[in-house]
Amino acid sequence: MLEIKGLGHRYADGHRALTGIDLGVERGELVCLVGPSGCGKSTLLRCVAGLLRPTEGTVTLDGNTVDRVPDGLAVVFQDYTRSLFPWLTVRDNVALVLRRRGLGRRERRAAAEEALAAVGLADAVRKYPWQLSGGMQQRAAIARALAYRPSLLLMDEPFGSVDAQTREDLEDLLLTVRGGEGGMTILLVTHDIDESVYVGDRVVVLTGAPGTVHTELRVDLPAPRDQIATREHPAFVALRAEVGRAVRRP
């Protein structure tokens, strides 16, 4: 579905963030990108989203070259405080993007409330973002992306600022959502190795500056995944160690 060929990017100031990236993602797959800071993960995500035009190589989605923001795409940015619109209530933040889905006002609100309830924010729908804690804001940003029912979901460190318990809940929510109808394809950037192995079908390790693909690892863990059982599984432990070695030793 998603095909990245020879992708590289150099910013106008000469800073080179990425080079020679080749990566394919199947429909319905959940691929995790891990790597140390500065390896160009976010740049890669921006290129896939069509927000940034790469200086080398191509990104194709369903056979079409990505040269603008593709349809049916949603992004959860790392910088959730700036990604939520402060002048809208949490519900309206979600409802706004649903305009692109051709829904009526009432349907938008209902869908927004449903998505917010799914991330445990049913009581906060009428609040403004600044009235929520960091973790709640991040959950609202995730709910916004999920309510949009994208065919391709890009997430940049989406669970970076929530507490451990919420993080596990959100990881499981993500696994539930992708299993549902529609078959969402997900590209998730994280620096948490455990997380990448736990939620991913495949883990891609990026290293270096400019970043390149170091290793790709298929995650063959029994479904359904479970926060305790899966993490104790010998295959999980082995994979985690392998990813860890790849990240640390370029």
Binding site: Y11, D13, G35, K41, S42, D79, E157
Partner: protein, 286 residues
Amino acid sequence: MTGKEGVAGKEGVASEAGKVGLAGRARAVRGFVGRIWLAVLLLALWEAAARAAGDLYFPPPTEIASTARELWWSGPASRLFLSDKALDDFGPSLTHLLAGWAIAAAVGIAAGVAIGLSRVLFELLDPVLQLGRAIPPPTLIPFFLVVFGLGTEMQVATIVFGAVWPVLLNTVEGVRGVEPLYLDTARAFGFGRATRILRVVLPAAAPRTAAGLRVALGFALILMVIAELMGAGGGIGAHLNDAERGFLPTELWAGIALLGLIGYLLNGVFLLVERRLIGHHRERQD
């Protein structure tokens, strides 16, 4: 934190690279051209349109500039080329403006410190000050005409009345915002009241006071003009009056451009002095 390849990261790299070498200089030139082109283009369009139309009321900029040169900068080199008319026009105007501004500054800072240091005084006078600031200064010109008659006193009074508010209110705000710990520290070291005000309160309030002084300078220029337009012996306002009555649009435009230049220079000089005097204050003040 990972994945900081966003906009902030890019800018950091850009400014570092901008400091060095030829590439940096080329970028600076490009930046300057990128900023100035519209101003130059509009000026050129105005010139072309004015020449094509030949409208008496809208002379081309080059004609305005040469008229201004003839009027004010055709004097001897020993006087920086200032003509007699320049001395007659600039002298009274700038004297009134600076005198009014200086008086407003002295009154505003003194009263501002007194009011800002006392909570009771502040709460007592706040509504009065707000009302005072809201009164458009030109509405008092007829009153000042009755009290002082036409002339310097009326003009300076108008300027002082308008310029005092931003200084006063900003100083009050600055003084009220002084970190109490600074004052406690000064007291603990046995500084007297006068020393505390001079060494702690005034410097701590300086950025806000300076912001008020700068606004006041702009007000002073506006009020100088309107006071002179109401009828005065000399000054740039008198030049504008003469040009209007003599039906000389180009001289009017020259006077307007001159006032813009004065406004620009006053602001620029103020900013330079401010940066030298209170550059130690890092935080940005509105």
